[in-house]
Amino acid sequence: MSDQPLQPFAPPADLLAYLPDGVSAGAMVEWALYIVFAFWAIYTLVAIYHWLKYSHASWVAFPSIALHLLISFALVTYALTGTRII
C-alpha cells in the first residue's frame, strides 16, 4: 500500500469533454435540478392525495400540506438562485 499522503480531490479537468456538443455544464445542472423537481412533484402529489383521501387525517391535512409547500418552495427558490433561471 502506498504511503503517499492523501491529495485533495479534484474533478477531472476534461470531464466537460464528455458532454455532447452544444450542451453546457450549466444546462446539465439545470436538467439535474428538473429531475429532482419532477421527483418532488410526483411524491408530493401522491402524499397530498393520501392526506385528502382519508378522513381521519383531514384536520391536519391542510396545515401539513401548506407547510410542506411553503418550505419546499423556499428550498426550490434557493436552488434556482444557483442557475440562470433566477
Binding site: P5, L6, Q7, P8, F9, V29, A32, L33, V36, F39, W40, Y43, T44, V46, A47, H50, W51, K53, Y54, S55, H56, A57, V60, S64, H68, I71, S72, L75, V76, Y78, A79, L80, T81, G82, T83
Partner: protein, 178 residues
C-alpha cells in the same frame, strides 16, 4: 371518503397513534441528512489531510447552491413523507369495535376491524426504562377464536387504552333458565 362506516348507535371513543417520541426517532435520519452539508466541511477541517476537500463546500458558488437546495429539498420531502405515514397509521376505538389502519407505504393500506364482543383478552406490555418513564407500550387484543389478534405498538399510556377497551366490551348475557 370515510375509512369505515359506523353502525347505527356506534360512535368513535378514541383515536390514537404511536407516541410522538417514536416519530421523532424516525425523523432522525432525515435530520442528519439535512445537517450533513453543513457539518462535513467543519469536520474536514479537523483532519489535516482532508482539509483540501472542505473547499468544495462553498455555498456561495452557484453550483453548490443548486446541490444544497436539491439535497435539502429531498431531505425535507422524505421527512414530510415520514410524517404523512405516521399520521395515516391509526387505531380507532369505537363503542363496538377496534379498527386498525396501517399505511405500510403509499398505495399499500390495510384497514381491519375487530368486534369488541369477540374480544377475549387484552394485554399491555411496557418494556424498558425509557418507555416505562414515558408511558409508552404495546397492547395486544385477542379475539375469542384466537384467529384474530391486534397489536398496537408504541402507543402512549397503554393501560388507559386497555381500560377503555375493557369498558366497552359488552357483557355476556346470562342464559335464561325457564
Amino acid at each position: 371518503m370515510k375509512e369505515f362506516e359506523l353502525e347505527p348507535g356506534e360512535h368513535v371513543v378514541r383515536q390514537l397513534r404511536r407516541h410522538w417520541l417514536l416519530f421523532l426517532g424516525e425523523l432522525l435520519p432525515y435530520a442528519i441528512l439535512a445537517i450533513l452539508p453543513f457539518a462535513v466541511p467543519k469536520l474536514l477541517v479537523l483532519a489535516p489531510p482532508l482539509v483540501g476537500y472542505a473547499g468544495f463546500f462553498n455555498y456561495s458558488e452557484p453550483v453548490m447552491r443548486v446541490a444544497l437546495g436539491a439535497w435539502l429539498l429531498m431531505s425535507w420531502t422524505g421527512a414530510w413523507g415520514a410524517f404523512t405515514k405516521y399520521f395515516l397509521n391509526a387505531w380507532i376505538l369505537t363503542s363496538q369495535r377496534v379498527v386498525t389502519i396501517k399505511q405500510r407505504g403509499f398505495f399499500r393500506r390495510e384497514v381491519s376491524s375487530l368486534l369488541l364482543a369477540r374480544v377475549q383478552d387484552v394485554t399491555t406490555n411496557v418494556t424498558g426504562v425509557l418507555f416505562s418513564l414515558l408511558g409508552i407500550g404495546n397492547i395486544k387484543v385477542q379475539s375469542a377464536g384466537a384467529d384474530v389478534e391486534f397489536t398496537m405498538r408504541g402507543i402512549p399510556r397503554p393501560e388507559q387504552m386497555r381500560d377503555l377497551i375493557m369498558k366497552y366490551i359488552p357483557e355476556e348475557e346470562e342464559p335464561k333458565n325457564n
